[in-house]
């Protein structure tokens, strides 16, 4: 049975397409792109943009170990609702994903329960302890697409050097969480005037920048590929800009909250404004947007980090770090970047499809005849209010609750199956 998506405006970054066009899908494959296509079934995408299914290379699906926060099944439904058809899951589950058996577990659970494509990252070091590197060649063979100890940095510079060298040999990108633990210790928010008046222990920007700098220097030393996760500060962006100017194989990502919010969001002690790295200051937001515009920041990734309402409904200092992001990311890109005139919609979609796909060699985020039918259909003008009860995620920890956003996913298709359809 074939499915036609008609009357939409197709945006396809690899081909540079941005024009009215129909898609025809059959048996999970995108068989044709063109005009006046007809299928057994039809989705009318009038007024909507039709683009490759979005790619998010930084999510936490919490399975195994923390299934009350999220599972591979619930996380995949949240992704589908956000127009995302491929995600890279982080390895800080319980137990952590540091051996082939654990990667195979994720791959199997994904096959059994997920409605979108789950591509696991594995740990960079055994037990995520920062001491011994993992068996990266085998991890790759069974399906890992990156190595990362995300959630913490690799403390020892010598170990980090080996991680970069070995991952490069194994053909895996190393994704670094950049944090000097001694400077960040005890902190719950950005260190600055707001942390001073709120009396909340702060995390200085230097804690992140010192390690971005170190990890870049190790990438230079080893010649290895390095992807820097969740850049938040002006100086962090500048460090990456300089590394790129030098010609190093360095990429980086940022998350929507780092351009939508500042540490002012903490003033009400809202634990949904607590994440690591923390929300920064207005000059950093400006630099993040500048970095996105000039290409220093390669892609958008959400760091989707679910925590249950009970876990978050505690004293700010005791609340866990992290917010969910999959179901709001596209709307935050449109509302915060496209509507404000910082980015064209075409470029925004590239930052959420081809660009992240290339970083992890995912071969996703692309519309090509004969390729998999992973498609997102969204209305770039539709306004909606973010509501806790409407999240498909098991968790509701979003700082954007109550906010009116522009850009709403109407339909998500993965391997030809409609995995989300707005009612």
């Amino acid at each position: 049975m074939s499915l036609a998506i008609v009357n939409g405006h197709v945006i396809e970054p690899t081909l540079g397409l941005s024009e009215p066009m129909d898609l025809l899908i059959d048996h999970g494959v995108l068989v044709k792109m063109g005009k006046n296509l007809r299928g057994d079934e039809t989705i009318d995408a009038a007024g909507c943009v039709v683009c490759p299914g979005l790619v998010d290379i930084h999510v936490h699906f919490r399975e195994p170990g923390y299934e009350s926060k999220e599972t591979i099944a619930s996380g995949s439904r949240a992704a589908a609702k956000g127009g995302v058809t491929t995600v890279v899951t982080m390895a800080n589950t319980n137990p952590v994903i540091d051996n082939a058996g654990m990667v195979e577990f994720i791959v199997r659970r994904a096959r059994e329960t997920a409605c979108i494509k789950i591509r696991p990252a594995a740990c960079a070091t055994k037990g995520m302890k920062g001491e011994e590197i993992t068996e990266m060649a085998e991890l790759k063979e069974v399906g890992a697409v990156a190595v990362s100890d995300d959630g913490r940095d690799v403390t020892s510079s010598a170990v980090m050097r080996r991680v970069l060298q070995y991952a490069d040999m194994a053909g895996l990108v190393c994704m670094s969480h950049n944090e000097d633990e001694t400077l960040a210790e005890g902190g719950s928010m950005n260190e600055g005037f707001n942390s001073t008046i709120l009396g909340i222990p702060g995390i200085p920007k230097a804690a992140e920048e010192i390690r971005i700098d170190r990890n870049i220097r190790l990438a230079e030393l080893t010649g290895a590929r390095l992807h820097i996760q969740h850049v938040t500060s002006a100086e962090g962006v500048q460090l990456v800009r300089r590394a790129k100017a030098k010609g190093l194989c360095v990429t980086c990502e940022t998350a929507p909250h780092y351009w939508m919010l500042t540490d002012d969001a903490v003033k009400t002690f809202n634990s949904n404004a607590k994440m690591n790295p923390p929300l920064r200051e207005p000059e950093d937001v400006k630099a993040i947007i500048e970095g996105i515009k000039d290409g220093t920041i390669d892609c958008i990734a959400t760091d989707h980090a679910p925590h249950t309402p009970t876990e978050k409904a505690v004293e700010f200092a005791l609340a866990p770090f992290g917010i969910i992001g999959l179901e709001t990311s596209l709307a935050l890109v449109i509302t915060g970047l496209v509507e404000k005139g910082h980015l064209s919609l075409e470029r925004a979609i590239a930052l959420m499809t081809t660009a992240p796909s290339q970083i992890c060699d995912l071969n996703a985020g692309i519309l090509v005849e004969g390729g998999p039918a992973d498609v997102a259909v969204f209305d770039p003008n539709a306004e909606w209010v973010v509501k806790a009860e409407e999240f498909a995620s098991r968790s509701k920890n979003s700082p954007f609750l109550g906010m009116t956003l522009r850009g709403k996913v109407k339909c998500t298709i993965c391997d030809g199956n409609v995995v989300y359809f707005a009612s």
Binding site: F193, S195, T196, L198, G199, I200, F269, V314, E315, F316
Partner: protein, 330 residues
């Protein structure tokens, strides 16, 4: 009872000084003297029936003797019933959330909850979600509003006496706060209150104990004690926690004393009329020398006496004039 105009008081809770107006602060300070008088009655009957039949719960997540006793006494002198919940006996160690514990207290029909907590913002998140009047008795490094009210009340009484002007305020009064500013909720609340009342605040302490951008609160900052106190009308010494030194925030008690202790020697650089204040408890001879703590300029014990009256004023205003929780607030 004095004829005051409590119509400016519409608050349900006292969470911090930051969001109070000058008028609200002055209303508390103007309400306090009648309660000072209650405690000094010749009859010896130190009680008024303003909170009769009400339940005041002192819920302390951190050890405290002075503040807890002061609140308890204030409630009792207003004829309220009091209940104390302390850390050791509390449910937080059993895994119960703050909201659940408060819901249980409220199920017993509490009227006022006095909360001290080691985490900044704990009273704030409770006030937004519960019906009781919440009084912040100190939250982390954030605020300690009743301390600031009793401090400014004590300062104002002395300035009025010194100037022989019963209506004098704190406008232009110079206050030097000395010590560990970084970890001090007292300093933050005092800065807010003093700024709103027109005083001029100077902060002084080791550079490692001055928080980032504190000058943006509208205060002068120096690391030189002599410079800080040379024109001070009030010198306010903060308590130095010994564990700060153990964490490496300053090299030694010895060096702290050399640079920042208020003693007869350092006071030679201060005006003769300068008052000496301290929030207690004192580390005797560390931040404050005995000769000064016990000397004629010290008003430290008056702060304690005034604390009861100011807390009576706060409870009276909240219960008898305060507002209710806005409906529909999450």
């Amino acid at each position: 009872m004095a004829d005051l105009n409590p119509t400016v008081w519409t608050r349900k809770d006292l969470i911090g000084i930051e969001d109070l107006s000058r008028e609200e602060i002055e209303l508390v300070l103007d309400t306090a003297p009648q309660f000072v008088a209650v405690s000094k009655r010749e009859s010896g009957i130190k009680k008024v029936p303003l909170l009769q039949g009400r339940l005041v719960v002192n819920w302390f997540h951190e050890p405290s003797t002075r503040t807890r006793t002061s609140f308890e006494l204030a409630a009792k002198r207003l004829s309220a019933d009091t209940l104390g919940i302390t850390v050791a006996a509390s449910s937080s160690v059993k895994g119960e959330t703050l909201h659940d514990t408060l819901a249980n207290i409220e199920a017993m029909h509490s009227d006022v909850i006095v909360i001290r907590h080691s985490c900044a913002g704990a009273p704030h998140i409770l006030a937004a979600n519960h019906d009781s009047h919440i009084i912040n008795a100190g939250d982390g490094r954030h605020e300690h509003p009743t301390q600031a009210l009793l401090d400014t009340f004590t300062m104002r009484e002395h300035i009025r006496a010194q100037r022989n002007d019963p209506t004098a305020g704190l406008d232009g009064v110079k206050v030097a706060i000395i010590g560990d500013i970084e970890h001090s909720r007292v300093a933050r609340s005092d800065i807010w209150a003093l700024n709103k009342l027109g005083a001029r605040v100077t902060l002084c302490g080791p550079s490692t104990l001055l928080p980032m951008h504190i000058e943006r609160m509208g205060v002068r900052v120096t690391t030189n004690l002599k410079d800080a106190i040379s024109d001070a009308d009030v010198i306010y010494a903060l308590r130095i926690q010994l564990e700060r030194q153990q964490k490496g925030l300053f090299p030694s008690i010895r060096e702290y004393i050399r640079l920042f202790r208020i003693d007869n020697d350092s006071l030679r650089n201060a005006p003769a009329h300068a008052l000496i204040m301290h929030p207690g408890p004192i580390n005797r001879d560390l931040e404050l020398a005995s000769e000064v703590a016990d000397g004629p300029r010290s008003v430290i014990l008056e702060q304690v006496s005034n604390g009861v009256a100011v807390r009576m004023a706060v409870m009276h205003l909240l219960v008898n004039f305060g507002g209710k929780r806005p409906q529909g607030v999450a």
